[in-house]
Assembly symmetry: D3
């Protein structure tokens, strides 16, 4: 049987533990117009100010994603029947040059956009939405769903403007983000100062702290996200530390008491129908993840995002 679209490695002939590991077992190809969804690693982690490690995440998530199968259990979506999904390798970065790397990442994602490829990226630290948004949203600002324990709205950290704690402010300043279509979900954790998250309120973000999330319940939070974000062009960014570190310990800056993987799955599933232009899952640090569960979780969330985007593409 010939398939219309690229297919992941077939587990009936290549066991899931066999051969090279690619994202979701999709083919590793170079970017081209034929690709609809590009799975991409961004092994950049020199934007961090506490523990390091996410440069290893693309490799670890490729490995963990070997166990993901083909069909979504709840939504019934089979992405590989709807469009071309492929592993496009990693964005180029220079491990010794932060600013150059940020430029390289932007160039890489701009090339994806030029070919109308929607990226689902595995970071890297949470600096990476800055260059990604510059590439994907430089003509008109997009909505953002940010799952995170930290607001990432500092003006600067350690005297620099580009790092893992500033992308949301940069994105608004640069006109890449529509503040009225932003939801920041899961914020918590001790703060450097009382107003760490204040900037977002002033900018017009909808902030659902973890306290608020717990109080309103997940269903209400999902409704709120839908109201704020709607279905227009949206970028989804999951800082894995938005999840509870008992579930996802492999992360540079763990903050106890967060979302469960289940919460995150269900919330992402609620985005069906939204025009997701791209997404990233960041701040996975395999060197702090002895059971591999953080990478397994990231791999599953990647599959959720691929299903959503494929479903939207399939509507065309």
């Amino acid at each position: 049987m010939t398939e219309k679209f690229l297919q992941p490695a077939d587990a009936t002939t290549i066991p899931r533990f066999a051969d090279i590991a690619t994202f979701l077992r999709t083919p590793r190809v170079e970017m081209s117009d034929a690709i609809d969804i590009g799975l991409v690693g961004v092994p950049f982690d020199i934007g961090l100010n506490y523990r390091s490690g996410p440069r290893e995440a693309p490799g670890a998530v490729r490995h963990a994603s070997r166990l993901i199968r083909r069909v979504h259990p709840t939504l019934g979506i089979e992405p590989y029947a709807l469009c071309n999904v492929a592993d496009l390798g990693d964005a180029p970065i220079n491990p010794l040059d932060k600013d150059l790397s940020i430029a390289q990442i932007e160039t890489f994602f701009a090339a994806l956009r030029q070919r109308d490829i929607r990226p689902v990226a595995i970071g890297g630290d949470h600096t990476i939405p800055t260059p990604i948004l510059r590439a994907l949203a430089n003509d008109s600002p997009v909505g953002i769903l940010q799952i995170d324990s930290h607001a990432d709205t500092l003006d600067e950290m350690c005297g620099t403007k580009a790092n893992h704690a500033t992308f949301m402010r940069r994105g608004v300043e640069e006109g890449l983000i529509d503040p009225g279509r932003v939801v920041q979900l899961g914020l918590r954790g001790s703060r450097f100062s009382a107003d760490d998250i204040a900037w977002g309120y002033e900018a017009g973000f909808t902030i659902i702290t973890f306290d608020e999330f717990e109080e309103m319940g997940r269903a209400a939070a999902i409704r709120r996200i839908a109201e704020v974000i709607g279905t227009d062009r949206t970028y989804v960014t999951v800082d894995i530390d938005g999840l509870d570190p008992s579930f996802c310990p492999g992360t540079p800056v763990p903050e106890i008491g967060g979302l469960t993987p289940r919460d995150t799955q269900v919330i992402l599933r609620s985005l069906r129908g939204v025009d997701i232009i791209g997404a990233d899952i960041s701040e996975v640090a395999p060197c702090y993840d002895p059971t591999g569960i953080t990478s397994v979780t990231a791999a599953n969330l990647m599959f959720e995002l691929v299903c959503l985007i494929a479903d939207k593409i399939g509507e065309r």
Copy 2:
């Protein structure tokens, strides 16, 4: 003081970290008519198609079960005051011969049944209910409570009929399972095809996917289990991957977003009064469990099952 029944090692004279490790610190004896509940290892793990490791589970659960005490905290059951509970060692298996091992396991459990010993087994992979049910249920089909992320109703996998993904179909085909008295709880995870779990619906199983479980709530799920299964002869099988892998990471095929150990405890406790003819806890892979928490959980679930069966025996 002489006890009427076999007693576990006394922690006041043998600290819980001391001496050989047996299941729940019960005596390691050979099977005999005197035994009522047999704690048994089934170190068979060559029915797997992804990661391996459960051959080590009986050893690891014996080690972890050293911390279990004598009395159930909620139900108040003290099994060792009600009947003879003992560690009967491991079922014989041949690590190089799948089919022979399956036959050996059946023979072993048939011998238990002949002596009217109710087994609580630690697998091994989830192939093992096939031979166990052949031994325990070959005269009339039984009800099944299956806690699992996967339906295990494939017809074949990798070209074989006997493996860790088929026991529920085999059991129905062979007349060992009463489909009308089956509950499959916790199903989730990406699927090979859209109808991975369809066979069970057609066979008449009651399926409570994790989505449904969450929506209905645990109490309603417990009521549904009671309605479907009743109190007649029932086999309980816990694939540890039915639980969330953040709680039980040591398993071959983790699927995020599942039951908690607490959920599982409470659901098992609801079976008080059911005629449980045997049970297994399978798919524990100690080599992926650096904290040991998966084995600790399995040991606690073993104690739950022992209490339920002892309580039923004590009614006589």
Copy 3:
């Protein structure tokens, strides 16, 4: 800028991974009248009867607490603007002499009290509230909030009266604890005998087993705590095994199915306004905590307690 009070190391000049690790990055000073809240290690772990390890907890929690910032995210409390908080080192103990160590701990905490320093201690095993309460509550009995899976009301264990399972009985017998103002929260786990927790009921404790906690819900439990304990002099003791061991695996005697870190945070936050005379977080065993999440949790709970006490001090 000169600060009125001692300040933790400034993360803008000393990265959080840099320099010696002290509790919450506060200065390591010797005790003096100037100090209001003393952060103290009590590396005593020879009161245990199963696994060992908490002697390493003060070191591990100091290390983990490096990531805690300055301001409480929910309550808005900034303790270092309200009073002097400092790391006072570890209480002296003798690793080869249990009774001497208990006396040394008492002497150390008596010296803290004499200087009107409120201690937040990192144990050590759960023997340590005995000497701490002797030092802090020897003039009038105090209320107790005990988060724990075990009641710690045995009369003796292994033939000794002073160990990690007896401090609540000792405290009542010695007039240090007001039984009418005690809440024991989270009790669960298999028992040595049916009446392991009965002593507390008879003494007049308010016991909220984990079964009851789940049934009533967290909000009701918080109300019950407030009713029983009020706002008078209270000691807070958190046995980390009160939390679910999937969240906090690094503990000597794990009992599945407990409180989450989030539950614990929210419950502690409800104590705002209570006159907390001291607190401990005990039974953290770093050698069973490969991800460090248990220490991270303990560090966060320490910050919760510091905020509560500082807030109360700031009222003056």
Copy 4:
């Protein structure tokens, strides 16, 4: 600059932690006549009778081999300047069918041979030389350098003839191995019976137990290997348990007191000039290798073997 031969990923543009992991960062291509040296995984591990795990080795060694550079430090060989080296993926295997897998492996290696590709394989357990030799040596018997703690000359184990303890006997029986050109190096470890290794002596093998190795010294052992094996067609098989398990803990059956990685490097280097028709490195079990050092060692030994074979090819 265009290169004459396939080149590994260039670390100056793709950092060594970036992109998909292939063996030694060589291109992942399908087998063809253009390839000279094929790097192949053989994720077969159902020939084991103690611990399991080597099915994960090809993946783990691909990951670890990312740090290997291009030029041999001692021999000065640069394999990628001499011939085409590529990652050809994994041999097909069926995780549920031992005999079928063995046949599949033979077919795969026969196809390599037909194309005159010399394989360097990462096992898999030590059953795999049986099918590999059937493919590579079925016309005339070859010499063998076996680095191993076990002789693998049993007639059968657990009632089967094909498993990880029999390949040397099978190879002689089937005329694939020239007993006069065999060296077994590193044998040690407790034995099932006194004559576990006797079969090899009778067959005419040269056996250098670890006792003898230590006594004669490495240089003399190298001379003895050269004398026995000469330079004709030779297969090299490294059971990683031939190395000391303190250096390589990730293996199913560790035997203390063996070769160091350095010993193994130097011994392999002494084979320069030998006509190596293929090689495998087997019995690496990543699930028992928390530091990854076993996979790092296997990756380095793979590079040694690639250099030797490339150097020989380059002579043509």
Copy 5:
């Protein structure tokens, strides 16, 4: 076939990963006159002043010893053909009472001696030779081979005389040890004071520091041991920290730069013919041994000692 002596579990019918774990897979029986060599755990670890953990060693070494087979590879000794070897469980100890435990250990070993059982013990910390020697050597002093990084000749530590740093002094003072027949091998590591090891010289011990061992070479060290100790009644005590902690990391007080497992094997083998009255392997801390290699090493050394003693018994 009926065997004359007790036999370990047969790996051809019970795989080595199956059933309860006993030392070397020997039967777990109660002590009796029929037993010649008693394998015993001594889970005492409250004599330590730095890290803890050896209470878990008997369990971990039982688990690790499952891979040991029946015949010594170098000496050819098959202990189970020479005498009765059995696992006699663990000596009773009280985890909360150091002095009581020491008395209990003495009583247990005295009972062994009364039955003419030669013990090979797995500690426990290195306090345990004190009560063992009191039981085994109270009529006439014995020779000692001590492999250790520390001299254990302090007079007291932390104000106590009985702990893991004093047994050699206690043994001489109590007339249990013949100083002229003592070899201390492997001493090294930073010292509390310049004369930490001076007491032994004055007592007449033969001390081979690691510096001296390296300089003289292993063969000369073996000759020196033979000269000093001869073949009369001798007790062998291996503190696992005598070995290099890279090989045996699971120990309370690691000292870099020590003996290899191979060195230790060869040195023990040189004791063939010596009248070994008993032996212990102590200071194994499984909680610091993530690969299990320390326990594997201890299990192998236990087998070495069993072979030596069995060989001597077989001479009779």
Copy 6:
């Protein structure tokens, strides 16, 4: 008793597992003229091009160094009787700015030099000798003993001149290093190109590759070091990857087959009498060191260096 010099925490009153962890348990003080030897952390690790992690090394080595006692076992040196040794905290660095950090490190070490404090630093990656030498050797070039697997003589890496692979070239270029008094010991590992280490030969370095080290033997290597370096002003730099990664797995770029910790100890001890102006131990990555043995080794090597310098200072 009052001591003439600063003393480390006394283990008889503060157990070695107690209180804050400082380097070698010395007091944490601010730099001043009174200090002779400054123990310093340099948590800089953004000069790496493969795995990251050494920013955590100062913390981990402080923790591990708790077990070091006061007196050198072989040399008999007691540094705390000879001069003032103290933990001076960590050099300031900015985790987001490589060049700024390098300048900050230089400033910090210049301040040490101004006070005539000899530093023993724990890195950080192997970029740090560049700023350290700029501070310590800017008036006249010094000799260098470099223990390392890599030559660190590249001109640039990833387009930058300052990183962990260039300090030796930079030092010569800047006149900080006397090439005629350089020994590079332990070089090995696959190379990017054939001339990776050629620059050093041309510069006049004495290079002892690991091959040469093994061939000549340690004693000859020590003699060669003495000949080349003499006793004049010398800087000692230990890249922990110079040691075999089986002994020290916690390092960014492991190269199998290197020096043992014992080799390193003995070689360092041979420097007694040399005028060591400072030293560093770099490239320790705790996140890849689950047993902690790499940090334990680094701590011991730090003590070796402190003893050497103190001994020299004591001569005055």
